[in-house]
Point group: C2
Amino acid sequence: MLNERKHKIAVVGCGNIGKSVVRSVLASKDLELAGIVRRPGSLRIPLPPEFAGIPIVSSIEDLECVETACLTVPTRCVPEYAEEILSLGINTVDSYDIHGELIRVKKRLNSIAKQMGKVAVISAGWDPGTDSVIRVLMEIMAPSGITFTDFGPGISMGHTTVVQAVPGVKDAIAMTFPKGSGLHRRIVYIVPEENADFSVIRKTVISDPYFCNDETVVIRTDNVEMLRDLGHGVIIGRKGTSGISCNQRFQYEMRIDNPALTGQVMVGAVRAGLRQAPGAYTLPELPLIDFLYGDRDSLLERLV
Amino acid sequence: MLNERKHKIAVVGCGNIGKSVVRSVLASKDLELAGIVRRPGSLRIPLPPEFAGIPIVSSIEDLECVETACLTVPTRCVPEYAEEILSLGINTVDSYDIHGELIRVKKRLNSIAKQMGKVAVISAGWDPGTDSVIRVLMEIMAPSGITFTDFGPGISMGHTTVVQAVPGVKDAIAMTFPKGSGLHRRIVYIVPEENADFSVIRKTVISDPYFCNDETVVIRTDNVEMLRDLGHGVIIGRKGTSGISCNQRFQYEMRIDNPALTGQVMVGAVRAGLRQAPGAYTLPELPLIDFLYGDRDSLLERLV
């Protein structure tokens, strides 16, 4: 494996997750960066000094020999980018996070991927993503019972992006707090633009599909800088029955740098994508060992 | 799926795990019992009343149309049984638990399985098994760092079986206690046979590969009945780095009826085995969604 050619990866978008993907690719032994694809409007925003030397382009077609593109654009733009890039004959990995839509997106990408002989790994973040794997695993172990997923406290990047795009919002941060039993409170801190009608902003946020199913508190503030912290976490618990034995108890908890984890999972998904038959896959549909770098037997010997 | 023919399963062996497999098969909608295979010497041992009506035979060849055999014989006998049953053209699932040997066993079974166009799922218990999946998942999320697996407190069925087979042992129970950081203490309670040399028994136990790597305390007692309790558990923790972000913290904990969980995981593995290309697989090599019963898209919609 050590003498194998490195696989060439493009990172599309260069926000928090894009930067994390770049760092995880730089830390990997089997992958290398073909380049970063940024929107022309973003090209002036400076990148971290350790990114010096990485080609920056405004179209993925300006990069050569890209095998996989990691899509770190806003989640709502993911399906369009993925379709376009798969059609160029390039594998895609994304961390698309709209739970209710992802099976539909998977079907769209599945047919293009098959047609092109390529692979799309979708929703390769932590939720959906690695948390989905945990939920499936817990249901394998105790098929009847109840699972709850309690997020936070932490800033939700997806929710924050949605709020920042609301007309009249100058800056914003959306935080998620666990209420227990799988219920959450969203607290949205908003710096409105001058002359903006805050009650309209509030209504727009509360009725957005990202927020309308949770208790949402919208708070007006003049500064969100002091709230910035990319730490996040989750507790997933299940109480269920295996066979006829009740009270089987499972709990998974993590406390993590949110974009760093997402970036790392996407990089694992790049590897897994290169090892599958053409099509679109979510994480529970993939053999997990395919996400790791290294000799298969040695990995299994150490981890099984 | 509801109208599909049920898959016929044989359970080989009928100890704690065998009984649990039977119960999990009875609770499943897509599997049915072809029968239970017991050694002629065990045929007199009564089975639970709810097992009435299940064919009991002394050879798997006495059962018809078996698609998968769940091997619940003592772990050291598993490779031989698996080879024999795969050679009959029947898928196998086992919970083989000798970590240092399982890749070798996998290779042996892999060639027979491929030759016969069948599938062997090996080490489909909780450790190795679902815990292996957790360890792989944690390493995907934070490729560098340290993982520890802390078992117990609980009776180790594998270790108990080993001790019960030591000459001069009338009855025994082997318990595992977590010392933290992945280290364990084994406490072995032994009722010796009259005239047995206890110091020889102690030496045999302590030098057995199952015990020689852990602190092992051997205690002589005249009754182990009061210690019987099939509850067990594990904590798996990882502290590691994703990209350049350190202090990523992951913890998984479960408290479970030990044989009930193993039986349930084996039943999931039966399903997964029926969905793979011929060969031998450990759990991290299989898509987890294949372990669940139900419409694929509905499962993904609910769990991803």
